[in-house]
């Protein structure tokens, strides 16, 4: 179909729009450009054999900015707007306004990966500050500037373990409280290396040294635990567990998040080798699971780390300047021998998390973390007072969330939802409730709703 395509220029009224409104060429420009190239029609520039040319239309309508905004706003209004008491590995806190205003500056959001560091010092420095934040929180020496999410970061940790471990082995241990989605992703990441994922049972929500001793042997490449766990419980024996893992020459990987870490003992201190998790608990509101893969590890693994690293160096004027570094680990140089296939990452989410953390400062971070712990324990005790509710189910320390036992979890959750609150149903008799600074002001109402619904 070598027909004459008229290149339509940007129109000022929407009814007339047939081309893209985001290309600036005028009709005169197009004519001059075609002439300079030496063709009479843009179709001549396409070297596509007839047999595979597409002659039809996609049958997708164009819309004005106003129309598209209205339509998508209306579609999104089909989402209910309950107050979410939801967590289980996906958390959000109040995001300071500064984060939106700064992160949406177009110099930041419309830039590419910093392959030309001399004109991208700004983003590089924020990523360097993000890495430093994670180094402080985890106690580990190295943090990369992001993986996709907690699940893929866990997958990357497992392939790292497989690469750095001196002896062979094919077992990966994960806790039974792990989110099924994370385990599924992990299984895909390790299948290529023929590793097998096995579950560790927990004792009332916590992993004990005895449980691990029972399961571990020298074939275990990596042991993964979470604290807080997907159930909201704080693990209590990480130090002993770290010793056991290390005695078997395995890697100890911990899933956690930067807010919890402001309160918890630093993972490096208890023998953790790699920390993964979702760092978008800072910087992002609920985003349907769009995350920020936290990845930090010991310096010994430096040359095997997946993902991008920002380092400090000097420029020709002798000033300190930042750049992506150790790129020989990465796919664009090492190809099939790269430490990961990741290219595009979650840099802008990391920028948001860094700004959020800076806004809180150390005192703000610590007090937010304390609040997450206190609120969970207090809310559980208040629910415990309601007849027909037993909370928390686990006699453990909690962070942000806890489980409660009721007669009929589905019925309770449905009735609670009718009151405008969303909570998790874990099984027929168990619900899970996540409290934080975002929903704190509605806890009284949630407790009232529980009282009403259960009685």
């Amino acid at each position: 179909m070598n027909g004459n395509t008229t290149l339509t220029t940007r129109e000022t009224t929407d009814e007339k729009q047939t081309g893209t409104p985001f290309a600036p060429q005028t009709d005169e420009d197009v004519a001059a450009m075609l002439e300079a190239i030496g063709v009479s029609d843009v179709d001549e520039l396409f070297d596509i054999p007839d047999a595979v040319r597409f002659d039809e239309s996609f049958d997708i309508d164009a819309g004005s900015e106003q129309t598209v905004v209205r339509e998508l706003t209306e579609t999104l209004e089909r989402n209910d707007a309950p107050i979410e008491f939801l967590g289980r590995g996906h958390y959000a806190h109040h995001v300071p306004s500064l984060v939106d205003h700064i992160s949406l500056r177009s110099e930041f959001i419309t830039s590419y990966t910093q392959y030309q560091p001399e004109i991208t010092q700004g983003f590089l420095q924020v990523l360097f500050e993000y890495q430093s934040l994670l180094v402080e929180l985890t106690g580990l020496e190295i943090a990369n500037c992001s993986m996709y999410d907690a699940a893929t970061a866990l997958g990357e940790a497992a392939t790292l373990a497989d690469r750095v471990r001196e002896t062979t082995g094919d077992r990966i241990l994960v806790p039974d409280y792990i989110r099924a989605e994370r385990r599924d992703v992990l299984e895909n990441y390790v299948a290529g290396a023929d590793l097998v994922v096995e579950e560790l049972p927990a004792d009332d929500g916590v992993t004990t040294p005895e449980i691990l001793e029972e399961a571990i042997d020298d074939d275990v490449v990596m042991t993964y635990l979470e604290s807080p766990t997907t159930d909201g419980v704080l693990e209590e024996h990480l130090e002993e567990i770290g010793e056991i893992v290390s005695a078997h020459d395995g890697m100890f990987c911990l899933g956690t998040d930067p807010v919890a870490l402001a309160l918890l003992r630093s993972p490096a201190d208890v023998g953790v080798d790699v920390v993964v998790g979702d760092a978008s608990v800072l910087g992002m509101g609920p985003s349907y699971g769009m995350g920020l893969g936290l990845f930090a590890c010991r310096e010994a693994y430096l040359r095997q780390v997946p993902g991008r690293l920002v380092g400090a160096s000097r420029d020709d004027d002798g000033n300190r300047a930042f750049t992506l570094t150790l790129q020989t680990r990465e796919q664009h140089i090492r190809r099939e021998r790269a430490t990961s296939n990741i290219c595009t990452n979650q840099a802008w989410v990391a920028l948001r998390a860094a700004i959020h953390a800076a806004s809180l400062g150390p005192s703000g971070l610590v007090s937010l973390a304390k609040r997450c712990h206190r609120l969970a324990e207090q809310t559980a005790s208040r629910l415990e007072e309601i007849e027909g509710v037993s909370a928390p189910v686990r006699d453990r320390h909690h962070f942000r969330e806890f489980r409660a036992r009721v007669d009929d979890a589905n019925a309770v959750a449905t009735a609670i939802e009718a009151n405008g609150f969303a909570i998790h149903v874990v099984d027929e008799e168990t619900v899970q409730i996540c409290v934080s600074d975002r929903n704190e002001h509605r806890i009284d109402e949630l407790v009232d709703a529980f009282t009403e619904v259960v009685n």
Binding site: M33, I60, S111, T120, G192, A262
Partner: protein, 476 residues
């Protein structure tokens, strides 16, 4: 020529340009009164403590030392740095889009409807039968796609036997790495002298052990693989599948579809083709489309419609998951907004102008472009100049340089993709920058850049003595 000098914030009291937050005010906060046992909690936390006005200034200054699409031309080949329409950010910021991933299907019908519509849009655009939106970037899409190919071969009892993935030498690094992550041996396929797939080499490489061929089309030289039908026949006859790397789809919108070319699996690069911002490296999204025979292997869950209601379901032989939730939802939402804004004709027009812009820019540049006819991008050679130095000098002329030193079949490659979003004036400015650098003394290239906030950065010592946090800066 319009010259550009980047903002420079230089602090005499600090080692660098804008001081690090840690250099401004680092405070140690004791962690006590926690009512948790001591062995569970930390003693203290040491981080920067600054007020909001100070932070606003810190980050604003940093943003002024950062170059984005809105700053000027950004012709990075293979990256499709097109304009990111602002209205899409407004939609992504709507409170109704802020939902938790464990919400009941019934209570997130709007979100699921948008997933469903976008799946459908992308299927039409790619000529595919079904689409998953789960992969969070192009490389994750490749990984998902290769896992789908693997599951298909396993289903046919050929999982063990088909242990190889064929990848052209000029392909992007992620193709090799994604295939390797899925456990495949990578077989490298040389290009012929025309810069396209060498059919004889392909015939020799394809066989009983071939799981898939991964191909970009137009390829990384911007050339359309004219023999695409024969390529597909060779691979299919050998029992392998055809994988399309969608990084270069911006060249073909509305003119050719991977599904019609014989591809069984493809990924879309939403942050390239569909104008979602690159965000300084991410987040993006890498949806994957498949032909009907592969639909049941798609990741879990998929979205389907029943009588106007949307629900999640697990495809029968699903590969499982490649992301902990439903991918980068807010990015997907922006892509939906962009496609809805342009419509089919707008997308076709975008490709036409992207190809027009690349060809016009090439016509105004006095460097050798060994491979033609190219589409949305071309690869010029810096000749006897070092391509990396050439790029550094371009920074002094106020433009972002092209991608350098890739693909390798062009010596000192300058891979250039202006996209449809550059005006003729801006392309002329770019061409002038190319010309000026080509005419500069060699020393000007070696000493460049001079007009940027930081001068040439020492990469060697950055890698030799890595300093990856402010802690390491202090201790070394």
């Amino acid at each position: 020529m319009q010259r550009h000098t980047q903002a420079i914030w230089n602090d005499d009291d600090s080692e660098g340009y804008e001081p690090l937050l840690s250099e401004r005010n680092l405070e140690t906060v004791e962690v006590d009164d926690t009512d948790l046992p001591d062995h569970l909690t930390r003693d203290s936390l040491k981080l920067p403590e600054l007020s909001e006005p100070e932070l606003a200034r810190h980050y604003t200054r940093l943003s002024q030392m950062n170059y984005g699409i809105d700053s000027g031309p950004y012709p990075l080949g293979s990256c499709t740095m097109k304009y990111n329409p602002k209205f899409t950010e407004d939609i992504a910021s709507l409170p109704s889009a802020a939902v938790h991933p464990d919400r009941d299907e019934a209570s997130v019908q709007g979100t699921l409807q948008i997933y469903h519509e976008l799946q459908d849009y992308l299927a039409r655009i790619g000529g595919m039968d079904a689409v998953t939106l789960q992969p969070p970037a192009g490389a994750a899409g490749e990984f998902a796609g290769i896992l789908i190919a693997q599951a298909y071969h396993e289903d046919n009892g050929e999982g063990e036997q088909r242990s190889e993935v064929i990848v052209p030498t000029s392909a992007h690094g992620t193709n090799f790495a994604s295939a390797a992550l899925a456990g495949y041996d990578v077989v490298e396929l040389p290009e012929d002298d025309d810069g396209r797939v060498d059919l004889e080499a392909l015939s020799a490489a394809a066989g009983d052990s071939t799981a898939a061929l991964m191909l970009t089309n137009p390829n990384t030289l911007g050339l359309f693989e004219r023999n695409i039908e024969e390529i597909a026949t060779i691979v299919h006859d050998a029992g392998g599948l055809m994988y399309y790397d969608g990084a270069n789809l911006n060249a073909l919108l509305g003119r050719a579809r991977p599904g019609d070319m014989g591809f069984d699996i493809m990924h879309y690069n939403v942050h390239k083709t569909f104008a979602t911002p690159h965000g300084g490296g991410g987040p993006g999204a890498g949806p994957v489309g498949v032909s009907e025979q592969l639909e049941s292997f798609l990741p879990n869950p998929q979205v389907r419609e029943r009588d106007g209601e949307y629900e999640l379901f697990e495809p029968e032989r699903s590969i499982g998951k490649v992301h902990g939730a439903m991918g980068n939802w807010l990015v997907l939402l922006k892509a939906h907004a962009y496609i809805s804004r342009l419509g089919g004709d707008g997308l076709r027009d975008a490709s036409a102008k992207a190809v027009l812009n690349a060809n016009y820019l090439a016509s105004q540049i006095d460097l050798k472009i060994p491979f033609e006819p190219f589409h949305h991008e071309f690869v010029a050679s810096a000749g006897d100049r070092d391509a990396a130095d050439f790029a550094k000098r371009m920074l002094d002329y106020g433009v972002h340089p092209p991608t350098t030193k890739w693909p390798e079949n062009v010596p000192e490659a300058l891979m250039t993709e202006p996209t449809e979003a550059e005006s003729k004036t801006s392309l002329d400015q770019l061409a002038e920058a190319f010309g000026a650098v080509a005419a500069d003394e060699p020393s000007a290239l070696e000493d460049a850049p001079k007009a940027t906030s930081a001068k040439r950065i020492d990469q060697t010592s950055a890698a030799r003595e890595p300093q990856l946090s402010w802690h390491q800066l202090e201790s070394r």
